[in-house]
C-alpha cells in the first residue's frame, strides 16, 4: 500500500479494550510452557532433599535406572558442569547457588534439589523419582526467625537500596512526643503460587538451544542460561508466549529451566520439567516472614516527630536477599528523627525472593497499622492524620516528588466510601452476629523505568507489527502495548500486531517492579516516532516493510541524571470488615481503592490488576501463612489445601478507581505501572477495620478465626482481672 496522510481519528489509550489474546484464553487455545508439543519428548521429575542441612552421601541410581522407561538420573555425581560465578547486571550479584544445579553434594536447606529422574512418560518419571533412595549426612539446622536474633545484619543492595537510613535523634524526639506508638508487627512466610506451576521444555535444534518456559522475561532468562552453560548467547532461544501468573516468582533463572537444559543436553532429546505444587513451594522463592518494630512519636496535633521502622527478615545461606520492607517509610512520612533498617538473618532455608510489591507489602501492613494506632491515640481521624503528615520532599532522599496525589486519593475515596459518617469508636456496630468496622490505609509504589528496545514495522498491507521482548504474565501487557502503539501510530488497535515473550525479539526489561508498561511503552513510543519520520506520504511500502528501532538506554539514564525526583504511584484503601466474635470469622464486606498512577492505558485490564492486588490484600490479611516445621526444616502442608489463598467466597465487591494526575513536564513518557500498587496497603486497611469492629488490634497476619477468638478471650480475661 501507499502511505496516506491524515488520521484514523482514533484514541486508544483510556478506552477499555478486551484482551488481544482473550479468545485464545477463553477457548483453551492459549498454550503455556508445558503445553507446547515436541516429538520424542522425555519427562524429568525432580527429587528434593528431605534433609534440612548436610551432604548427600550417596544416590542409589541403579535400581531406578532399571525401572520401566527410565532414561537417566542426574545428580551431583554426573551432572554437566555449569558456571554460576557470573554477575547478573539487574541484581549486581551472582545468582543464587541454587541454579548451580547438582554441582556439589552440599544440602543447605530442606527441599534442595538432589536429583532429576528422566523417563519416557511422566507417570514413569514420577514413580522413579519417588523410588529413588538418596542417603544424607545431616547436620543440625537453624530455621527460626525471631525479633531478638543477635546475628541480624543490615544489608545494602543494588536493588533494594541501603540497609539503614538514619536522620535525627530518635530517643529525644520520642521523649518529646505527646503520643507514642511502639509496636511489633509480624507477617508470615508467603508464597507466590501462580496457578501455572513452573515448567520448561528444552531441546537442541539445529545448533540452537530452544527453551519453552514459564517466566517473566525470556530475553533475560536466555542471557542467564547462556552464561550458566557457557554458550554463545546467539545460540539460545527462550520463549514464553503465555505465562500463568508470576508475581515475581518466575522472574529469575530457576531449577526447572536448568534441569531441563541439562537433561536435554545430556540425552540429546527434548526434556520437559514441570514442578509439582509442592516443589513450587520449595524451589521458586517466597516472601520472607518479617518481624517489624515501628515506633512513632507525634506532637499534640499529630505531626510526626519520630519515625522508626526496623524490619527483620530471613534469607538463606546461599544468597543474600533482603526484603526491602521499609520502602514505604522512606517515602510516605517524614519526621524530625527518621530511622529505617532492613535486616536479614541467614538461616537454613530456601532463598526468599521478590513477591508482588516486595517490601512495600509487609512494610505497609506494619506502618499503616501503626498510623491507625497513632490516630486512635491522638484522637485524630486516620485520614486527617495522614494529610497532616504529607511531606514536602522525599523524607530520606530530600528530592522533590514528581507527583504526589495521595491526598486526592483519600479525599475521593472518603467521599465514595462514606467515611465522613464513620464513628471512630471501636466495637460498637452490630449486624446480627457480626461486629462491623471500617479501616483505611495508604498505598505507594516506586515508579521506575529500565532501558528497553523495540522495533515497529509498517507493513505493506497497512498494518503495523510491534516486536519487543516484553512479557504478559496476566498483566494485560500484550493489550496495553498494542494500544500504546496504536495511539502513537494514530490507527485502530486492530491494525497493530504485537510479538512478545521471545528472546529473539528486541531486548527489553522483564516484567518486574511495575516497570513494564512504562519501560516497554517508552521504547514503543520512540520507535513509532522514528517510524513516522521514516514514512513519507505517498511512498510505497516495500514487501519487507519499513522498520524503526528504538533503544531507551540514553533516555532512561538521562531522566535519572537530569531530573532526579521521587517518582511513585499512590493510593488509598478502604475496607469494611465483619467479625463474628463467637467464631472468630472475619469477612471483608466491601473494599474500595482509589489510585493515582498517571494515565491509565486500558481501564478494563487496569481495573483487573488493581482489584487483583487488593484481593491479594484480603488473602494476606486473612488467609496466607506458610509454617516451617522445626524438626524437618520444611514447610508444613506445602499445598493449596493447607496454604490458603482467597477463594471466590472470600471476595466481596471490590472496587478500584483512579484520579486524574497532571503530567510531570520533566517526564517524557508519563506512564506509570500498576501491577503492584493495589497490593500495598489493603491488608492494613482490613486489619484496621477489624480493630474498628472489635477494639482488638491484630499485629500478626493472617487474622485467622483462632487468633481472633484467642485475642477476644484474652481481652475479656484482661478486663475481668482489672
Amino acid at each position: 500500500m501507499t502511505v496516506t496522510a491524515g488520521k484514523e481519528a482514533t484514541r486508544s489509550v483510556g478506552t477499555g479494550l478486551t484482551r488481544v489474546e482473550g479468545r485464545e484464553k477463553v477457548t483453551g487455545a492459549a498454550r503455556y510452557a508445558a503445553e507446547v508439543p515436541f516429538p520424542d519428548l522425555a519427562h524429568g521429575w525432580l527429587v528434593l532433599s528431605t534433609a534440612a542441612r548436610g551432604r548427600i552421601r550417596s544416590v542409589e541410581t541403579a535400581p531406578v535406572l532399571a525401572m520401566p522407561g527410565v532414561l537417566e538420573v542426574l545428580h551431583h555425581g554426573n551432572a554437566l558442569p555449569v558456571d554460576a560465578g557470573f554477575v547478573i547486571p539487574l541484581l549486581g550479584t551472582p545468582p543464587d547457588s541454587l541454579v548451580a544445579l547438582f554441582q556439589d553434594d552440599r544440602i543447605p536447606c530442606a527441599g534442595w534439589p538432589a536429583a532429576l529422574v528422566v523417563a519416557e512418560t511422566s507417570e514413569q518419571a514420577r514413580e522413579a523419582a519417588e523410588a529413588l533412595v538418596v542417603h544424607y549426612e545431616t547436620e543440625p539446622h537453624d530455621i527460626l526467625l525471631s525479633g531478638d536474633r543477635p546475628d541480624a545484619v543490615a544489608l545494602d543492595s543494588q536493588v533494594t537500596g541501603p540497609g539503614v537510613t538514619l536522620k535525627g535523634d530518635l530517643e529525644a524526639e520520642l521523649a518529646a512526643s505527646s503520643f507514642v506508638v511502639d509496636a511489633q508487627y509480624t507477617t508470615p512466610q508467603e508464597h507466590h503460587n501462580p496457578m501455572e506451576p513452573h515448567a520448561a521444555v528444552a531441546r537442541w535444534h539445529e545448533g540452537t538451544l530452544e527453551v519453552v518456559d514459564a517466566n517473566q522475561g525470556s530475553g533475560y532468562i536466555a542471557q542467564l542460561l547462556a552464561q550458566l552453560f557457557s554458550l554463545d548467547p546467539a545460540t539460545v532461544r527462550v520463549r514464553a508466549e503465555h505465562v500463568g501468573g508470576g508475581f515475581g516468582g518466575k522472574g529469575q533463572i530457576s531449577v526447572h529451566q536448568v534441569a531441563a537444559v541439562m537433561a536435554a543436553t545430556k540425552l540429546e532429546r527434548p526434556v520437559r520439567v514441570v514442578l509439582t505444587r509442592r516443589q513450587v513451594f520449595a524451589l521458586t522463592g517466597y516472601r520472607s516472614a518479617t518481624v517489624q518494630r515501628v515506633r512513632l512519636g507525634a506532637d499534640a496535633d499529630g505531626r510526626l516527630r519520630a519515625l522508626s521502622h526496623r524490619c527483620l527478615a530471613m534469607t538463606s545461606t546461599t544468597y543474600d536477599f533482603a526484603e526491602p520492607t521499609t520502602a514505604v517509610a522512606r517515602v510516605m512520612y517524614d519526621a524530625d528523627a527518621h530511622h529505617t533498617s532492613n535486616e536479614i538473618v541467614r538461616l537454613d532455608v530456601p532463598t526468599p525472593s521478590f513477591m508482588r510489591s516486595p517490601g512495600e507489602t509487609p512494610g505497609a501492613f506494619a506502618l499503616e497499622c501503626a498510623m491507625d494506632e497513632l490516630a486512635e491515640k491522638s484522637g485524630i481521624d486516620p485520614i486527617e492524620l495522614r494529610i497532616r503528615n504529607e511531606p514536602e520532599r522525599g523524607p530520606v532522599s530530600g528530592l522533590p516528588f514528581s507527583s504526589r496525589n495521595v491526598v486526592a486519593c483519600f479525599q475521593e475515596g472518603a467521599r465514595r466510601f462514606g467515611w465522613s459518617e464513620r464513628d471512630p469508636r471501636p466495637g460498637i456496630r452490630r449486624d446480627g452476629r457480626w461486629l462491623i468496622g471500617t479501616g483505611t490505609a495508604a498505598a505507594t509504589h516506586l515508579v521506575m523505568s529500565v532501558p528497553s528496545t523495540a522495533a515497529v514495522t509498517a507493513e505493506p498491507d497497512g498494518t503495523f507489527t510491534v516486536r519487543i521482548g516484553a512479557s504478559d504474565i496476566g498483566t494485560g501487557a500484550r493489550t496495553t502495548l498494542t494500544m500504546i502503539a496504536a495511539e502513537a501510530l494514530d490507527v485502530v488497535p486492530d491494525r497493530v500486531r504485537i510479538h512478545i515473550g521471545d528472546s529473539s525479539l528486541p531486548p527489553a526489561v522483564i516484567a518486574l517492579g511495575s516497570t513494564g508498561t512504562r519501560s516497554w511503552g517508552w521504547a514503543i513510543k520512540i520507535a513509532v516516532d522514528e517510524l513516522r519520520n521514516m514514512l513519507i506520504p505517498g511512498m510505497t511500502i516495500p514487501p519487507e516493510g519499513i522498520t524503526a528501532r528504538s533503544d531507551t538506554t540514553a533516555a532512561v539514564v538521562g531522566l535519572m541524571q537530569n531530573a532526579p525526583k521521587e517518582r511513585h504511584t499512590y493510593g488509598a484503601h478502604f475496607a469494611e470488615a465483619a467479625v463474628d466474635t463467637t467464631t472468630g470469622e472475619v469477612r471483608v464486606r466491601r473494599m474500595l481503592g482509589v489510585f493515582a498512577a498517571g494515565p491509565i492505558v486500558n481501564p478494563l485490564t487496569a481495573r483487573s490488576q488493581l482489584t487483583g492486588g487488593m484481593i491479594w490484600g484480603i488473602s494476606m490479611a486473612l488467609h496466607e501463612e506458610a509454617v516451617l516445621d522445626e524438626v524437618t526444616g520444611g514447610i508444613v502442608g506445602a499445598d493449596l489445601a493447607s496454604y490458603h489463598i482467597a477463594a471466590h467466597a472470600d471476595v466481596p465487591k471490590v472496587e478500584a478507581t483512579w484520579v486524574e494526575e497532571p503530567p510531570d513536564p520533566d517526564d517524557p513518557v508519563g506512564l506509570k505501572g500498576i501491577g503492584e500498587l493495589g497490593n500495598v496497603g489493603p491488608a492494613a486497611a482490613i486489619a484496621n477495620a477489624v480493630w474498628h469492629a472489635t477494639g482488638v488490634r491484630h499485629r500478626h497476619l493472617p487474622i485467622r478465626p483462632d487468633r481472633v477468638l484467642s485475642a477476644l478471650s484474652d481481652t475479656v480475661r484482661g478486663k475481668a482481672t482489672r
Binding site: T27, G28, G244, T475, L640, H648, A649
Partner: protein, 190 residues
C-alpha cells in the same frame, strides 16, 4: 497391553478416541499429554485448585483426581468443546467481554465450572449459602453470594474474582446459557 495398561475409549467433546493408557494416567494427563487437549490446566494436580475442571456426563469434576480408566465411555466435555464453531458459549463470551481473567491459566476451569453452576442452579440445587435448603423453600436466587460460593472450588491467584462473578451473572441472564451441557436433574437416575 500389560496388567497395568489398557486400551480404552474416551469420548471427548463428542469424539471417540481409542488409546492405550497406563492405569496411573489421570483424565487430566490423558487430555493434555495424549489427546493434545491442553486447554484443561494442571494447577495443583491434587484437587485443590479447580484449574482442571471438565464436565463428565454433564457434571463438573476435577480431572486431576479422575483416573482416565474410570472415565471410559463417559461423555467428557472440555473447554475446547464449549464453543459452537465460531460462536463462543455465553459464559466464554462474558469472560472475554468483562475481563474475567488475567493470566488465563485458571480460566478454562472457571468457565467449565461456571457452565455447570448455571445448570446446577437451574436444576434447583442448593448451596452452602442457601438460607433454607428444604425443597419447599424453592430455587434459590442466583445472587452474587450464591455464585461466589458455587464457584469457590476454582482458585484464581491473579484475583480476577470480581469480574468472574460479574461474567457468570451476565451469562446466567444470557439465552442458551446451558446449551452445551445440562446437569442431570436431581433424581433422574433414581
Amino acid at each position: 497391553m500389560t496388567s497395568t495398561t489398557s486400551m480404552i475409549t474416551l469420548k471427548v467433546n463428542g469424539e471417540k478416541h481409542v488409546l492405550p493408557v497406563d492405569h496411573r494416567t489421570t483424565l487430566l494427563d490423558a487430555l493434555r499429554e495424549r489427546l493434545d487437549l491442553t486447554g484443561t490446566k494442571k494447577g495443583c494436580d491434587q484437587g485443590q485448585c479447580g484449574a482442571c475442571t471438565v464436565l463428565l456426563d454433564g457434571r463438573r469434576v476435577v480431572s486431576c483426581l479422575q483416573l482416565a480408566m474410570a472415565a471410559e465411555d463417559r461423555e467428557i466435555t472440555t473447554i475446547e468443546g464449549l464453543a459452537e464453531d465460531d460462536r463462543l458459549h455465553p459464559v466464554q463470551q462474558a469472560f472475554l467481554d468483562l475481563d474475567g481473567y488475567q493470566c488465563g491459566y485458571c480460566t478454562p476451569g472457571q468457565i467449565c465450572s461456571a457452565v455447570a453452576v448455571l445448570a446446577e442452579h437451574a436444576a434447583g440445587w442448593p448451596s452452602a449459602v442457601t438460607g433454607d435448603v428444604r425443597p419447599e423453600a424453592g430455587q434459590p436466587e442466583l445472587t452474587a453470594e450464591e455464585i461466589r460460593e458455587r464457584m469457590s472450588g476454582n482458585l484464581c491467584r491473579c484475583g480476577a474474582y470480581v469480574a468472574i462473578v460479574e461474567a457468570v451473572a451476565r451469562a446466567a441472564d444470557a439465552p442458551g446459557k446451558a446449551s452445551a451441557v445440562t446437569a442431570r436433574p436431581e433424581g433422574a437416575r433414581r
